[in-house]
């Protein structure tokens, strides 16, 4: 994974619009958050291979980044994205890693199931 290049991400978002896509979207505090520190709250959520289609998608911010995808009936939103896979040519792999390198958030889009 490399630090996000917003121009490359925007190009990919444009090339993926107006078609059915598989999405992986998640956010997690880690399964041991409250076990390790009782003041913390353990929460995580993911959708793996849900199907979405958006007509307008863009990346915003100066890093960490936000991405919003406008769908016919709603939105996909993700904040805190720091890294992407620049070698991927027809799918978008993005994640937000904290200062320890731990993944906190992920957003992935592909024409094929993950």
């Amino acid at each position: 994974m490399q630090l996000i290049n917003p121009g490359m991400v925007q190009e990919m978002l444009d090339s993926l619009k107006n078609q059915d896509l598989y999405i992986h979207l998640e956010m997690t505090t880690g399964a041991y958050a409250s076990h390790n520190d009782s003041s913390k709250f353990t929460a995580s959520t993911f959708i793996h291979n849900g199907v979405v289609r958006y007509s307008q998608g863009s990346i915003a911010g100066f890093g960490p980044y936000r991405v919003g995808l406008k769908m016919e009936q709603g939105w996909v939103y993700s904040q805190g994205l720091t890294h992407f896979e620049e070698t991927e040519t027809d799918r978008l792999i993005m994640a937000g890693h904290d200062s320890d390198g731990k993944l906190v958030v992920a957003l992935q889009l592909s024409r094929q199931p993950f």
């Binding site: 992986h24 076990h35 793996h48 994640a95 890693h97 320890d100 390198g101 993944l103």
Partner: protein, 216 residues
């Protein structure tokens, strides 16, 4: 001596911290070990630091790390059960029970090692332990293998009492540390603030603790 140990955990690296010394000790004494690892830990948030993988490539990396860990311990038989991380409690429980039963019938373990359901913090750990207990409970009493459980939830000793099986693994620390190092995407001493040479670490890692599960 145990003839055959069946280890059932949900994630690659679950074998490392709590049982790798015990397994290495048994293996050196001639025990066969089958390790059924239910998932590839594909939802782990640790991806190494610097980052070694992404959500797409992590499962394959963790599979390789698991194989390396098994080699370090000497585990002869690794079974990847193909479930998805975080979903064990939501899986078809009958399917899980029947697959575990088939594995027990095949390898005929004298001992099973798993997590203590309800006292193992991660929902996958609890669900894995519960599936093992359910499977063994359904067996005729005379055929049931012993079950040793790992528990580490806060305050678990207040309810379960002290662990009744204490294994001295100080002679097997090289295998244990190699197993831990194999999972480089998940744990690195450099970022833990500790080292394999710390006296406190050596002390803590030299003993592994299990609770015998009492059926009925």
């Amino acid at each position: 001596m145990e003839k055959h140990i069946l280890v059932v955990f949900p994630h690659p690296d679950d074998e490392s911290f709590g049982t790798s010394g015990t397994l290495a000790k048994h293996i050196q004494a001639g025990t066969q070990v089958t390790y059924a690892c239910l998932t590839l830990g594909e939802m782990a948030r640790n991806m190494g630091n610097p980052i070694l993988a992404n959500r797409v490539t992590l499962p394959e990396l963790r599979r390789k790390e698991l194989e390396e860990s098994c080699r370090a311990i000497g585990i002869q038989d690794l079974r990847l059960m193909g479930l998805h991380d975080k979903t064990v409690e939501f899986e078809d429980q009958e399917m899980l029970t029947s697959r575990l039963r088939a594995l027990i019938d095949e390898v005929k373990p004298s001992l099973i090692i798993t997590f203590y359901p309800g006292y193992a913090v991660h929902p996958d750990h609890d669900a894995t332990g519960a599936a093992v207990i359910r499977t063994v409970t359904a067996m005729p009493k005379k055929e049931r293998p012993k079950v040793h459980c790992l528990a580490f939830s806060n305050g678990c000793e207040k309810i379960l009492g002290k662990p009744d099986v204490l294994v001295d693994v100080r002679d097997y620390l090289p295998q244990k540390f190699a197993s831990i190092r194999a999972h480089q995407s998940q744990f690195r001493w450099e970022t833990s603030g500790q080292s394999e040479l710390d006296k406190a670490v050596l002390e803590r890692f030299s003993q592994e603790r299990f609770w015998t599960y009492h059926f009925e």
